[in-house]
Symmetry: C2
């Protein structure tokens, strides 16, 4: 039985943009992110949940050095190309990811990550997953503690993060 988790990575270079109450119509998210991609700004996490009463929220993260450029693009297109109830910008978030092949097949890996952070009183702001990553957004001040706790919980060598 191989341990599913191979590594834990942390990234503080995250600035978060949250669009509240955008219409849930085809093409909307492409209209929002299109001009940002054309400006050569890389987008990291993109999170959107199921709409409620025909609107939903979209959150995405960029590198902190790109927050102001992203803000000016968003404010240019807002109310011309698309509408949102409000837009929030925040530059002190951090991302921590659990990485391993076939995470999906290891029932409970994500739950374990969430439980470890929960028991330490660390609030999870965003969650996004794929077959080999589980990433969460937390406050930057918790990042070091979160890394230490997750290394211990998944039996990883704390120094370089590789599976012990």
């Amino acid at each position: 039985f191989s341990l599913p988790v191979k590594n834990i990575t942390a990234d503080v270079d995250q600035a978060k943009i949250t669009l509240r109450g955008v219409p849930d119509r085809p093409g909307l998210i492409g209209e929002v992110l299109g001009p940002i991609g054309e400006a050569g700004i890389s987008v990291d996490m993109i999170v959107q949940n199921i709409a409620r009463e025909c609107t939903t929220d979209i959150t995405f993260t960029v590198q902190r050095t790109n927050l102001e450029r992203t803000r000016s693009i968003i404010e240019t297109y807002r109310d011309t190309a698309w509408q949102a109830d409000s837009v929030e910008y925040l530059d002190s978030v951090a991302k921590i990811s659990v990485i391993g092949a076939g995470l999906r097949d290891h029932a409970g890996t994500a739950a374990k990550m969430f439980q470890v952070l929960g028991e330490a009183g660390i609030n999870i702001q965003l969650v996004t997953t794929s077959e080999i990553y589980i990433s969460v957004s937390i406050e930057e001040r918790h990042l070091e503690e979160a890394q230490r706790l997750l290394h211990a919980a998944f039996n990883l060598d704390a120094i370089d993060g590789e599976a012990a």
Copy 2:
């Protein structure tokens, strides 16, 4: 310049569970997913956006054969371990993913995927990303068309999906 997108994958074996209005407190998501992991049920996509007024929604997907078992676990723990305004269960969703190394560094890849689906009138219900995956949830009836359009948009050989 290497093309960022290497492959497109599709998965119809997706059943979606959405918890509406859960309290945004540390430990909550671990309490929800813990019993599901303990039952040996693998969870695929997990999506949670930034809370609004101290509550948020959590969506996750399981294989369709596990929907009923997941439902009975959720209904057992609901109102005893955690609260939610409502819970929705849906078994006719599909996932389509764009896969490629370093997607984050290729500004515009995600926007292009979203624009292609938007122009075809295909509504995106959920979005979740990692460094090498961009996954969206759409209605199952759009899956074949979405695959065909994305293969063409990213210059992939339609037959086996590998980069042409």
